[in-house]
């Protein structure tokens, strides 16, 4: 009896659940054919168990002499069989709507015909038998009329026979038809699966397919069981199996709906639904425990069971609280917190992209996220390319194929005005003459997601319709809006990362250039018997525009050069490298100093623009005679601090090198004596500036050299650098700073020229 009650309850709950789901799905989006068909299918699937449960409930109560199996109410339960044609219909529209491809779509209603007939037969069998029975009596008349009525009567008696046959085996006949329907439906579902590329849709289809397979298996056992096996299955088991098969198919469908969002049933619905079920189970359990508690406690506590049971109830209540929570969490994790829930989508997406710096991988994740969570059929990207400064539609995933969009494209301008996800059709005003509009139309684009950073359009994502013909809900649009904001952040991150890589690479190149420049500078000054030379150079950036060099001209003569290219950094460094090379080759040719500078100027003026020039001082020191012959091409005047304290400036020469062609240069010669100091420097020293914008000045350099002329060259350089840095502590210095100092140790034998 209890088992019977349990069965009834189970049937009723299954049925009620299916009917409830059917109503919800239909209501959710009545305009959608898939919703309507699925709703109807589930409604009829639910009717079966509900009728059986009702039957079982009515059965014991009824006192009428007529067996319940013969009542109209019972006969009506065959209506649930409409599930099968609806399943077939479903298989035609899911996962791909193939109905529109049919030549005569209205003919599809034929599939309902057998079940309409079945219902008529079970409902009106007795009336029909009576009707045909009455007809057959009339045929007994003899005469001419019998010629007409004879075959007619025979037909009627055959029909009568057929009807009786069908009535007695109807379950088997229509069961067989149902099996054929299910096989056909699963065939269509199977072939439909091949049209699907969307990963989420694939999973949905798989679950639905398994549902039909399990249902089919149970149906076969129910029907073939009675014919193949030696003993017949009891009628209850048979019907139970059939119901089970429907419940399995429908159950998996429900699973697909809730877990994989097979239909766009709102989250709130799913949440409240699951909440009610868990609550119902727990409350039921709780009530059973409370009811049974008295019986359980009585033998132990005897008369005091009443009091103890209250304590027990409180205990159970306390104990149930965490269980309730746990069960709720568990069911939530099973159904609610799936990959497709919006909050979850955002969490997952931001987690994935936060550490992602490869733009193409980023596109893949965006692509995958949109396809699996929103079932978008196709995703296209139009992105701004920093390298070519153009927008481009990416056709293939690997970025290899792309169509450049003109920046004056009207549609692009229209999209530039958008802030939120917008339907493509609403941009019709921008369509005229737009190449982009054509490209998007070709690709059946429905929705545009602009990606904007402040006012700059980074690009946009173009989405086609959702797969299986679902439409975008307002919830979807909200999600897409938030997603596109996240995409913007991710895109900017990725771009910054690429830029920083580029910067690191450039930095490495600059470091290499710096090394080359250092290699070009003399590693140490030449060692002379008569004089001591020291040098120093600090670039303001990694590579500098200053340089100094020492050239060995012959056994007696040493060339000293100090130069400063206009500007700073890499361009200045390149200029310097060129100057150094030209100078060395000119000096090798054995030309006098003025000609060396004239040729250099001509070569550099011809090969560089006018605003690029070099100030350069070149002198040749004769170690035997102590004579220093020089020419100054617009460079800061080197200082000759005589041992006696007087100062001379080496000014003779001509304009800066490389600015203007056809310049001429003078040269001059000074005789150096013991303890004289020659001090060469660039404007990085004299133009050092303190915080109140005062310059160090050439005047101060001159005074300092004059005051410290007794120092050794290296010490003099170190001291003046320290003085300069006390004045202007900026490091690296604002400008390249280079100093060369020379001090005469031995006196020279004075020639009189003719010697």
């Amino acid at each position: 009896m209890t088992l019977e009650l349990f069965k009834t309850l189970l049937f009723f709950l299954t049925g009620a659940f299916l009917v409830f789901l059917a109503i919800t799905i239909t209501r959710d989006n009545f305009a959608n054919r898939l919703n309507r068909v699925t709703g109807a299918m589930l409604l009829f699937a639910g009717l079966g168990p509900v009728f059986i449960a009702l039957g079982k409930m009515v059965d014991p109560i009824t006192t009428s002499p007529v067996a319940f199996e013969d009542t109209t109410l019972y006969a009506l339960h065959y209506a649930w069989e409409f599930f099968f044609p609806l399943l077939l219909l479903f298989s035609w529209i899911f996962p791909v709507d193939r109905l529109s491809g049919f030549r005569r779509p209205r003919l599809r209603y034929i599939i309902f015909l057998p079940y309409v007939m079945h219902l008529i037969i079970v409902l009106f069998f007795d009336d029909l038998i009576d009707f045909f029975g009455n007809l057959s009596i009339e045929t007994s008349e003899e005469g001419f009329a019998s010629i007409v009525t004879q075959p007619f009567a025979r037909l009627i008696s055959w029909l009568h026979l057929l009807l009786s046959f069908v009535r007695s085996y109807d379950i088997n006949i229509f069961g067989a038809i149902s099996i054929v329907y299910v096989i056909t439906a699963s065939y269509f579902l199977e072939t439909g699966r091949k049209f699907v590329t969307n990963p989420r849709l694939i999973t949905q289809t798989k679950v639905v397919l398994w549902g039909t397979r399990v249902g089919l298996g149970l149906l076969l056992i129910a029907h073939l069981g009675s014919t193949v096996l030696p003993y017949t299955l009891p009628e209850t088991l048979k019907s139970a199996l059939m119901i089970l098969s429907v419940a399995a198919a429908a159950g998996l469908l429900i699973f697909a709906t809730i877990r994989y969002q097979f239909l766009d049933v709102r989250l709130i619905f799913r949440q409240s639904f699951i909440y009610s079920i868990t609550s119902a189970i727990l409350v039921g359990l709780y009530i059973i425990i409370v009811i049974k508690s008295k019986q359980l406690l009585e033998p132990v506590f005897g008369e005091q069971a009443e009091i103890v049971s209250y304590a027990f109830i409180i205990l159970v209540l306390l104990f149930f609280q965490p269980i309730n929570h746990w069960v709720d969490e568990f069911i939530r994790s099973l159904f609610i917190r799936t990959r497709t829930d919006h909050r979850n989508v955002l969490e997952r997406f931001s987690r994935q992209v936060i550490s992602l710096f490869d733009p193409s991988k980023l596109r893949n994740i965006i692509n995958e996220t949109l396809k699996t969570t929103l079932l978008v059929e196709k995703v296209f990207f139009v992105l701004y390319d920093d390298k070519v400064k153009e927008y481009a539609l990416l056709i293939s995933e690997d970025n290899a194929r792309r169509v450049v969009i003109s920046r004056s494209d009207l549609m692009l301008r229209g999209i530039n005005l958008l802030d939120t996800p917008t339907y493509f059709y609403s941009l019709a005003d921008y369509r005229e003459g737009s190449n982009l509009a054509g490209l998007l139309e070709e690709r059946l684009v429905k929705l545009i997601l602009p990606m904007k950073d402040a006012d700059h359009l980074l690009g946009f994502v173009a989405l086609t319709d959702k797969a299986a013909g679902y439409s975008y809900s307002s919830e979807d649009l909200n999600l897409l809006g938030v997603l596109s904001n996240q995409m913007v952040t991710a895109l900017i991150n990725a771009r910054l990362y690429v830029e920083s890589l580029e910067r690191i690479r450039l930095q490495e190149e600059v470091t290499m250039a710096r090394q080359i420049q250092l290699d070009l500078l003399p590693s140490k000054p030449p060692e002379l018997v008569c004089a001591k030379i020291s040098a120093h150079s600090t670039p303001s950036r990694t590579v500098g525009g200053d340089f100094f060099d020492f050239l060995t001209i012959d056994n007696n003569r040493v060339g000293i050069v100090i130069a400063d290219a206009s500007g700073k950094g890499m361009p200045a460094a390149l200029m310097i490298a060129q100057t150094q090379a030209i100078l060395r080759s000119e000096v090798c040719n054995g030309n006098p100093i003025d000609i060396v500078l004239k040729n250099m100027n001509q070569l550099i003026a011809d090969s560089s623009s006018a605003e690029k020039y070099v100030t350069l001082f070149y002198g040749e020191f004769d170690t035997v005679s102590g004579r220093f012959c020089y020419s100054n091409a617009g460079h800061n005047y080197p200082i000759l601090a005589r041992a006696n304290g007087s100062l001379e400036l080496l000014t003779a020469g001509g304009p800066v090198i490389g600015a203007l062609p056809q310049m001429v240069y003078q040269s001059a010669t000074v005789q150096l004596e013991k303890d004289d100091v020659l001090f060469f420097f660039t404007d990085g020293l004299s133009e050092a500036m303190n915080e109140i914008e005062e310059e160090y000045t050439e005047e101060r350099v001159r005074r300092y050299v004059q005051d410290h002329r007794s120092e050794e060259p290296q010490a003099l350089i170190d001291m003046i650098l320290k003085d300069m840095r006390d004045f202007d502590p900026t490091y690296p210095p604002r400008d390249d700073t280079t100093i060369v100092a020379l001090k005469i140790h031995n006196g020279f034998k004075v020639y009189d020229g003719q010697a």
Binding site: S566, G567, S609, A610, A633, N636, G653, G654, P655
Partner: protein, 112 residues
């Protein structure tokens, strides 16, 4: 650097203000000069009275302007050269290249 211009007796007078330091300044002066060259106005005086400071790149800009004009048979002269710029021109020995005058009027007159 800010750059204004006017015309005086058929001579273009450019008046840069502030610091002449390369970067955008270069193209600013360059574009302005080309604008006048296209109008066949090739007598130019740069009034340096309001230039506080000029670095090597700034000097490069002046040289470039000078070359540009000379290559189109025009001429660039300087006026109101401050002490600082004068010493820069002296050191670089560009005083021999640039014609410099104490006042704009004198510079304009020199074109006649």
């Amino acid at each position: 650097m800010r750059l204004s211009d006017r015309e005086q007796d058929g001579v273009v007078v450019l008046e840069p203000k502030g610091k002449i330091m390369g970067g955008p300044d270069a193209s600013l002066l360059h574009d302005k000069l080309y604008e006048f060259i296209e109008q066949d106005k090739k007598k130019v005086v740069i009034d340096l009275s309001q230039v506080d400071w000029m670095n090597s790149t700034g000097l490069g800009i002046l040289i470039s302007g000078y070359t540009t004009l000379r290559n189109t048979n025009g001429e660039l002269k300087l006026a109101n050269v401050t002490e600082k710029i004068q010493s820069l021109l002296t050191i670089t020995k560009l005083v021999t290249v640039f014609e410099a005058y104490d006042t704009v009027d004198e510079a304009v007159k020199s074109f006649k």
